[in-house]
Symmetry: C2
Subunit: 337 residues, 2 copies
DNA sequence: TCTAGCACTCTGTGTTCCCGAGTGCCAAGT
DNA sequence: ACTTGGCACTCGGGAACACAGAGTGCTAGA
């Protein structure tokens, strides 16, 4: 059905269209790529490719443009991920080195990725799910208020101000802190609920109301942040490219955490570290845009996802290379800290 | 030079142009607003206004459009800030109530403001300068690493991982923590440097290298965050409006902290709580856009600034009302917590 | 199976034309 | 001294039209 030459033609069409942004005709194709056949032959192949739904023509007398299906075939079988240049590698290193905390790592990463791909970069904050408790802190503020600070092994810090139901002395707070840390230090966040379940019973009865309040806030913090924060950068790169779906829709999606989450997520959960490419109408919500994403995190402990979003007409090999490289570097940085 | 009627004409021109986005002609003007004069008279006034530079015409046979100078006069003398409707007030309250921490307050505020004004909202994080230390925490991670956590009275939390030059026992860390808190608790951040200056000398000599390291990181944290974080929301609202300066430039400015800072800031520092309106070419960097901003924070303790950014052709009375109202509510929330 | 030739079909562009909104100015009216 | 109606003028933008050029599909021949 699709012999080698037809595939070569498809590849050429995708490459030309991506670089010129204009429908590509048979003549130009036969010249620029050294297929050693005439335009007429190319035309026949194009007719076949169109028949199969890999390409289409905007109007009767125009060149051909790849369809989503065409891009899909191109990504799956006709292209290979392009590794970064040395200069780009160095840029990544200098950019990420010197990040002072997790916030900083995420911010730098998303900007870096946007700059590298000249598209919109999206980075999900590392999820709490797989991380462990490094320290729990209870800071007395007044005699009725304490601040709960939760520090995880990924460097994330969560804090909450808690109104206590009754006055609690500082020494008791200090005791409770010690108990909590003894109980939770180093434990996975998902196991926290069971670990603290019997805690009130092991403490003096007069402390129980306060403990209950504190624990409920602690648990709430865990669940609440379970749906994660996502940041993006490079919106300016949208200005040039035109989307079939309005620019407005894209910008709205970017600011809508939930939508963004679904765009990034929805991965084949068996291999989270693999590159996911979602092309055009394969996406929920935003048709007309493509997404290249991957998980990051050290080794088998995948923390979250990052990726870029751009027009369907994007340079997939280069973009995939950049996303993969950045994910690796960030994983490395996070593992080291 | 400018009698009352001419001013009324200018006001009418601004209002019509803002609502229709089309150059407004003498006939339509005389009809829609009940100036009780004929189009011809209006034309004479328009000629005078144009002479003075308050309005201009895109081409010879078109209606008039306000100039930056015209908007300036309108804002300063011809309009009054429009208070919010009851529904809008309630929206603000329900939106801001239930924010769990400072991050959350800022995030909700910026979204609220964007939604309310249908433009791009910008909020600067409360600055550390005027705030005070509520608690300093030192958490041992390994025997060579500690985490420094700084909590301020505005609910802000800064953390840093510190590599110590030598192994330090946990008890010493605990002691140092106590010393630091005794020394700094409740003090203004700006006074921290002097307060800790003689600290190494008051401690055992063998601890001094570690203390020096920790203090340097602490001081660095203070200065570094002095230039502040800024967030924005509502970029989707840019999609409709067209800017004379390219959309791309605006998006780039939004992602460039430094530029955004200068746009928000640069206020008459004597009355930080007053509304600042910067119109078109009055802005640095982004001509063709206007900015309505104000300081927020409790009473005389102005913490930071917030505002909105939009096309020069914006509804100033409404926008100013929204900005002022949101700033007040946020100040209230922050003061209460 | 490939190639060359040919007639056909479009889009995009440049040209021309014309309508109408809006203006500026002048002379007459209050 | 201001206001008003009248009038000629200007200019942008849309409609109508022609046309060149790129690209295609098809058929016949190598």
């Amino acid at each position: 059905m699709l012999d080698d030459r037809k595939l070569a033609v498809l590849r050429a069409i995708v490459e030309d269209y991506v670089s010129t942004n204009e429908p590509v005709g048979s003549k130009a194709l036969a010249e620029r790529h050294n297929l050693k056949v005439s335009p007429a032959t190319v035309r026949n192949d194009m007719a076949a490719l169109e028949e199969e739904g890999y390409i289409t023509q905007p109007h009767t007398s125009a060149g051909r443009v790849p369809t989503d299906k065409g891009y899909r075939l191109f990504v799956d079988r006709l292209s290979q991920i392009k590794p970064l240049s040395g200069a780009e590698r160095r840029a990544i290193e200098t950019f990420l080195v010197g990040a002072v905390d997790l916030d900083d790592v995420v911010t730098r990463t998303v900007r870096l990725l946007a700059q590298l791909t000249r598209q919109v970069a999206v980075v999900q904050y590392p999820t709490l799910t797989r991380s462990t408790v490094r320290h729990v802190e209870l800071v007395p503020l007044t005699d009725r208020r304490v601040m709960l600070v939760l520090i995880t092994n990924t460097g994330r810090v969560e804090q909450r101000v808690i109104e206590l139901p009754e006055v609690v002395e500082d020494t008791r707070i200090a005791h409770l802190r010690a108990v909590l840390n003894a109980c939770l230090d180093g434990c996975g966040l998902t196991t926290v609920p069971e670990l603290v379940a019997d805690l009130p019973e092991r403490l003096p009865v007069e402390d129980r109301p306060a403990v209950a309040t504190i624990l409920s806030v602690l648990l709430e913090t865990l669940v609440e942040r379970h749906d994660e924060k996502i940041v993006f950068a490079g919106a300016a790169n949208l200005a040039g490219a035109d989307f079939s779906t309005g620019l407005r829709d894209v910008l709205e999606a970017l600011e809508e955490q939930v939508v963004l989450m679904r765009l990034l997520g929805e991965t084949s959960s068996d291999t989270p570290s693999a590159l996911t490419v979602r092309i055009g109408s394969e996406n929920p919500y935003l048709h007309g845009t493509s997404i290249v994403a991957t998980g990051y995190g050290s080794g088998d402990n995948q923390l979250a996802r990052l990726g870029v979003l751009g027009p369907t007409r994007m340079d997939y090999p280069v973009t995939m290379g950049a996303v993969r490289a950045v994910a690796r570097y960030v994983s490395q940085i996070l593992a080291a800290s």
